[in-house]
């Protein structure tokens, strides 16, 4: 209904005292029906509304997909039909994941688009590398230089010297397919500074590397993380967690810090970092002793026979014996033992068990970073969590926890690529055969050790100098042109790593580029379309649109068109066999356009989309341009029970002991309950309690779920002596790593990262809120302010991620988020980063840049962290053992001092814990890799002689 106007207002308007109200179309309920103020869909193309001054504006509403965090939420861009500019960005109510509701980062895309300091033209380095001096250059110049160098590397059989390093992919398989087409094992990622540990734990247990909790139907939400507040899919998850809570679900959170998530919990266990696995194992034991397990699920889907064979080979092979012996094997994990380790009460452990028992199979559980990413052996936390959900039958159940792959869409393409023939040991070093995945955080150490060189290095949506640990070593590697030949940074905005690039190539934000994306946000599978909204509007109006640059500001481009163009330049005549993968499926021999690329996928690779589009009288591509997202299916559970279709006339073999079913020597399923079913993609096709892979690959002591003391656990801290565990990983809901630095509103909300300290600890060191303190790690120290708060447990200090951005003196960079710093060597062979000028107001075309009221923009703590690689998962174990003390007289806010030689020593010490394979395989073949090479590449000493890919 239109807003009711009082007589007073009508009279005032008629006298001209207030602006006149106008009758506008009635807002409609869209999406899931709970949002009432979105314009009706049929009017999106031509929508009229009033601004704050009651002046009318005509808009075209074009959907796209957010590209700030990885959640892939839907956005709706309001493009002014008169000016052609994007005037505002809201949520897309038709997006199945975000349902029209967005966090602060979504609408802040508008800030990013209008950032007065964004990069608008391709830039070429001037002067020595790393001094931050650039000049504009043309796209052709950059593309030719890059293509020539890559072509030369390929022709000389040095394909593995071309490396693509990505943070947030933001797409589905585009780059994996491209690198596969190029035939190089050149995909590097960020997972070992992100989620390697959790991936490892989940993978070893159920064969999938991540969970997809069905929060909205859960009775109990068990979180070892702060997903609700700032986790991986913060927004889509948070809204479902709160929906469930409003319906009566309970929330249990394990976190040493009172996060926003913990503040909403019914039970908050403020556990000591590194002890979470012990708490989970004690909970499992309580449940086992109480008989509170789902016997049918365990009987069918937990590999208890494998457990008995491996651990108790003489025991009777029946379920009761397994349950009894598992409880006995966990005998040391009493609630008292776990509670004493974790610094909580035994009753809290029992209460956790009661909560789980009460919820039955409706336990939606999630650990992603947090305890898993912080601690050595943190992957055991994820494995214990997975086992816990399995024992109560929550795996794959409504309201339970499904594997991610069940709820994620993967596209298909019109040509098949073969994959790399070789194995890149700079990315997959032999010491870490079980890593998840690419060992990106030790790349500079491997390069400096002379294990290889990089001829062409691309970075995209990643800023390792700042985001990764040990940034000074990254700088050392990038400065050295003999180790990194040509560095190309693809980025919409300046960052600390891009200072070291030879070419900085501007790429678009979420409303300026194409991608498709799918994430496991709930019990459903969807695909979302990211598109340059101005180009989409032109296409919908029937205008010719073939190059996204014509619609973006300056010469900003998008990666899809860039890579297609680059591929054609590398293989101009098609003789290398690369180009054919980027020829149009509709116009043979011609370069594929981005429209054709997505048109083919939408027409052929998204089941149900063509039919849905037809219902709407649209072609699939046009449907996605207008709606922005499509849900393939919803509410699919227990997919492991699906029957395998065996071709008629085929003969399968069923293994008597475990029920594995093979066809032509290949495992195709598992016999359960009288049928051949898909099961789980583990070696046993069931959820594994004992990991033969770990036993066979050098870690027999870790084959069973257990608590392994962390490098920062309660055993090694001593607050009386100033020794604490530093939790440096927690996130703010308003920021992403360094991609949000140019969003003014986000910066105003959050711009500092003080060190949280409990009042008891602060008193011990005579520190008051706001005082400067020194945080010493094993390789250096940083100077920050203390935030004295009850929100962190005693013995633990915590410092949020995101802050402490910097730009070099006289160098280029974003002034919103960064201070000007000087980096210089000081005594003792150490390097020091010191703030010369804090962030503050500056002149630009945007008057808001004069209104910044904050001076301190945080401390770059990651520089002081050495690489600490978990010997199994490969995860960089983020938590640090630190010494905390009041700052000294010569210390300044923001100071960072690092001894790089010590960093090398720490790296070597952790490397020594790793175990290279004893056999002739580089990696168990059942473990996934994002870019899977051809089978022969897995064999050690089978590296192919240099040849053309």
């Amino acid at each position: 209904m239109p807003r009711h106007l009082s007589k007073i207002e009508k009279l005032a308007a008629s006298l001209g005292l207030v602006p006149k109200a106008r009758d506008l179309p009635v807002p409609e309920r869209l999406g899931d029906g709970r949002l009432s103020h979105y314009p009706p869909f049929e009017k999106w193309e031509n929508w009229e509304e009033l601004d704050a001054r009651r002046l009318p504006h005509r808009y075209s509403l074009i959907p796209t997909t957010c590209f700030n965090c990885e959640a892939g939420c839907g956005l709706l861009a309001y493009v002014d039909r008169d000016s052609g500019e994007i005037e505002k960005i809201e949520g897309n109510p038709l997006h199945p994941g975000s349902r029209g509701r967005n966090c602060a980062k979504g609408p802040a895309t508008l800030n990013q688009l209008r950032d007065p300091e964004r990069i608008l033209t391709p830039m070429k380095r001037v002067g020595p590398r790393g001094t931050g001096k650039f000049e504009p250059c043309g796209w052709d110049e950059a593309l030719e230089a890059i293509a020539n160098r890559i072509r030369c590397a390929f022709d000389e059989g040095r394909g593995e010297e071309v490396m693509y390093h990505v943070g947030r992919p933001g797409h589905e398989a585009f780059m994996e397919r491209l690198l596969s087409a190029w035939g190089i094992d050149g995909h590097n990622s960020h997972t070992t500074v992100c989620s390697a540990s959790a991936r490892c734990g989940y993978q070893l247990a159920w064969g999938y590397d991540r969970p997809s909790p069905d929060y909205e139907n859960a009775q109990l939400i068990l979180l070892i993380s702060s997903h609700l507040e700032a986790g991986h899919y913060f927004n889509p998850h948070a809204q479902r967690i709160i929906d469930a809570k409003n319906r009566g679900a309970r929330i249990v959170v394990l976190d040493p810090r009172l996060s926003n998530t913990a503040s909403r919990a019914d039970l908050w266990l403020s556990t000591r970092p590194g002890t979470e696995a012990a708490v989970l194992l004690a909970t499992i034991r309580v449940l086992l002793l109480a008989g509170a397990v789902d016997r049918t699920f365990v009987e069918n889907w937990v590999d208890w026979r494998g457990y008995l064979q491996s651990v108790h080979c003489e025991a009777s092979p029946d379920l009761d014996t397994f349950l009894r012996l598992l409880a006995e094997d966990l005998a040391e994990y009493t609630p008292e033992y776990a509670a004493q380790l974790a610094g909580i009460s035994p009753d809290q452990v029992r209460q956790l068990a009661r909560e789980i028992e009460r919820a039955g199979p409706r336990v939606a559980a999630h650990v992603w970073r947090a305890a898993a990413s912080g601690n050595e052996g943190g992957w055991q936390v994820a494995r214990a969590m997975c086992l816990l959900t399995a024992l109560v039958g929550a795996v794959g159940a409504p309201g339970g926890t499904s594997p991610s792959a069940w709820n994620k869409f993967k596209p298909e393409f019109w040509t098949k690529t073969e994959g790399p023939k070789n194995w890149n040991e700079l990315i997959w070093p032999k010491e870490y055969p079980l890593s998840f995945y690419e060992m990106s955080h030790i790349l500079p150490h491997l390069v400096l050790d002379g294990r290889g060189k990089i001829d062409v290095y691309f970075t995209r949506v990643i800023n390792p100098v700042w985001t990764f640990p040990d940034g000074f070593t990254w700088m050392e590697m990038l400065r050295d042109e003999s180790r990194v030949g040509l560095y190309v940074a693809l980025t919409p905005t300046w960052n600390e790593t891009a200072y070291f690039a030879d070419f900085v190539l501007p790429m678009g934000h979420s409303a300026e580029r194409h991608d498709i994306q799918s994430q496991e946000t709930h019990a459903g599978r969807w695909v979302s379309f990211r598109q340059p909204v101005k180009r989409a509007r032109a296409a919908l109006a029937g205008e010719e649109a073939t190059d996204t640059r014509s619609f973006n500001p300056g010469e900003v481009w998008e990666e899809d068109e860039f890579w297609i163009d680059l591929t054609w330049r590398i293989d101009p005549d098609g003789k290398r066999g690369i180009r054919r993968h980027y020829e149009s499926p509709y116009r043979p021999g011609k370069k594929v356009t981005v429209d054709e690329y997505y048109r083919w996928i939408f027409e052929n690779g998204v089941p149900g989309l063509p039919e849905k589009a037809k219902e709407a009288g649209l072609e699939p591509l046009e449907y996605m341009r207008r709606v922005g997202a499509f849900e393939l299916e919803r509410g699919k559970y227990r997919l492991h029970e699906q029957k395998v279709e065996i071709p008629e006339g085929s003969r399968v073999r069923v293994e008597a002991a475990g029920g594995l079913v093979t066809l032509d020597g290949k495992v195709v399923g598992v016999a359960v309950d009288g049928a051949i079913r898909h099961g789980f993609p583990t070696p046993s096709r069931k959820i594994e309690v004992v990991s033969k892979t770990l036993a066979e690959w050098g870690f027999p002591g870790e084959a069973l779920p257990r608590y392994s003391p962390s490098h920062v656990g309660p055993e090694v801290i001593d607050p009386e002596k100033g020794i604490y565990t530093l939790v440096p990983t927690f996130r703010l809901p308003t920021m992403i790593h360094s991609r949000s630095g140019n969003a003014k509103h986000l910066n105003e909300i959050s711009h500092a990262n003080p060190v949280w300290m409990h009042p008891d600890d602060a008193d011990r060191h005579s520190l008051a809120d706001g005082d400067l303190l020194k945080v010493e790690t094993s390789i250096g120290h940083s100077i920050n302010r203390v935030r004295v708060t009850d929100g962190v447990r005693p013995g633990v200090v915590a410092c949020s991620h995101h802050m402490g951005r910097w730009r070099l003196e006289g160098g280029i960079g974003s002034q919103w988020s960064s201070a000007t710093v000087r980096i210089e060597p000081i005594e003792g062979g150490r390097m020091r980063l010191r703030i010369i000028e804090p962030s503050g107001p500056f002149d630009s075309a945007d008057p808001d840049t004069r209104r910044g009221w904050w001076k301190e923009s945080g401390v770059h703590q990651n520089l002081t962290f050495p690489p600490q690689s978990d010997p199994i998962s490969g995860m960089h174990c983020w938590h640090q053992l630190v010494r905390v003390s009041p700052a000294g007289p010569g210390d300044q806010y923001g100071d960072v001092v690092v001894d790089m030689e010590k960093s090398r020593e720490v790296h070597r010490a952790w490397l020594a814990k790793a175990r290279p394979p004893a056999g002739d395989l580089r990696r168990p073949e059942w473990l996934p890799r994002p870019l899977r090479p051809q089978p022969e590449a897995y064999r050690i000493d089978q590296q192919r002689a240099p040849d053309s890919p």
Binding site: S6, I8, A12, T734, I749, S750, H751, P754
Partner: protein, 276 residues
């Protein structure tokens, strides 16, 4: 969206202009309310003389109240929208209409004169009381500030108006009515009791208790106990009851200062607490 890491720089969204508005409004309301009340008991002639001082005083301070209110708006140029595009559920709008009606009545009285104890005297008294008290409900609509949720707030504001009104009249018309000093003393005693009850009584929530603690501890404690209570109330009572002439004027000044200090502390303290 709370991020924890940023200091509460924007916490005090209501500052001196709001506490100033409460103070000027107390005088504006009390300057008419006092003679209107006294007209029920006293002889017409002295009360009429009191109205002659009270009405212009009330008008002047009501105008000042309006200036402070408009100045505190984020978009002062839109102040008329509060009246002309009313959101009736808001006490901001209701209060604006109460103030407007009260101002109109004062203007009419000032221009045409009025009769103590008559219809307009009674109506004016009611509007003056509403002008004093409505802010209690306005503050109560700030649901995140627990200290402002007390149902006693409108009563307390009314009492402060009696203190401020009688003190201001005592300064402007000291010889008009002997009862004025007694009225001020009684109002001050009542106000002191309400302050003590507010500061030392039990509060419904932890946040209210923490705000209360903020007012009675630290630097604010001295302002509250020495400034507002000891000087602004108890000393003022002693002086106004025992002294005459200039001493009573001093007592009236103390009383006004006491009201101002308390109102400022009461506006400020709850805003010092984080909202999440």
């Amino acid at each position: 969206m709370r991020t924890y890491d940023i200091a509460q720089r924007h916490a005090g969204s209501w500052g001196w202009k709001v506490s100033g508005y409460l103070f000027t409004k107390s005088i504006a309301a009390g300057a008419f309310l006092i003679p209107a009340l006294l007209s029920l008991f006293d002889e017409a002639a002295p009360v009429e003389r009191l109205f002659r001082s009270g009405v212009p005083l009330a008008l002047a301070f009501l105008a000042l109240t309006g200036v402070l209110l408009v100045a505190d708006l984020k978009r002062p140029e839109r102040f008329l929208w509060v009246l002309l595009r009313p959101q009736w559920k808001s006490w901001l709008v209701r209060g604006a209409y109460i103030i407007t009606a009260y101002g109109a009545l004062l203007g009419g009285w000032f221009t045409f004169g009025g009769t103590p104890g008559g219809f307009f005297s009674t109506l004016g008294g009611i509007l003056a009381a509403a002008t004093a008290a409505y802010s209690g409900w306005l503050f109560g609509q700030a649901k995140g500030r627990d200290l402002w949720q007390s149902p006693l707030v409108p009563v307390h504001l009314l009492c402060q108006a009696l203190v401020a009104g009688s003190a201001a009249l005592l300064l402007c018309a000291p010889f008009e009515l002997a009862d004025l000093a007694n009225v001020l003393a009684v109002a001050l005693a009542l106000d002191a009791l309400l302050i003590l009850a507010e500061m030392h009584g039990r509060h419904a929530s932890e946040a209210a208790a923490r705000a209360q603690k903020l007012m009675i501890s630290g630097q604010r404690r001295w302002w509250l106990y020495c400034g507002s209570l000891a000087i602004g109330h108890f000393l003022a009572i002693v002086l106004v009851l025992t002294g005459e002439g200039p001493t009573r004027a001093v007592a009236a000044c103390f009383a006004l200062i006491g009201v101002l200090i308390y109102e400022h502390l009461w506006v400020d303290a709850p805003q010092r607490l984080p909202l999440a």
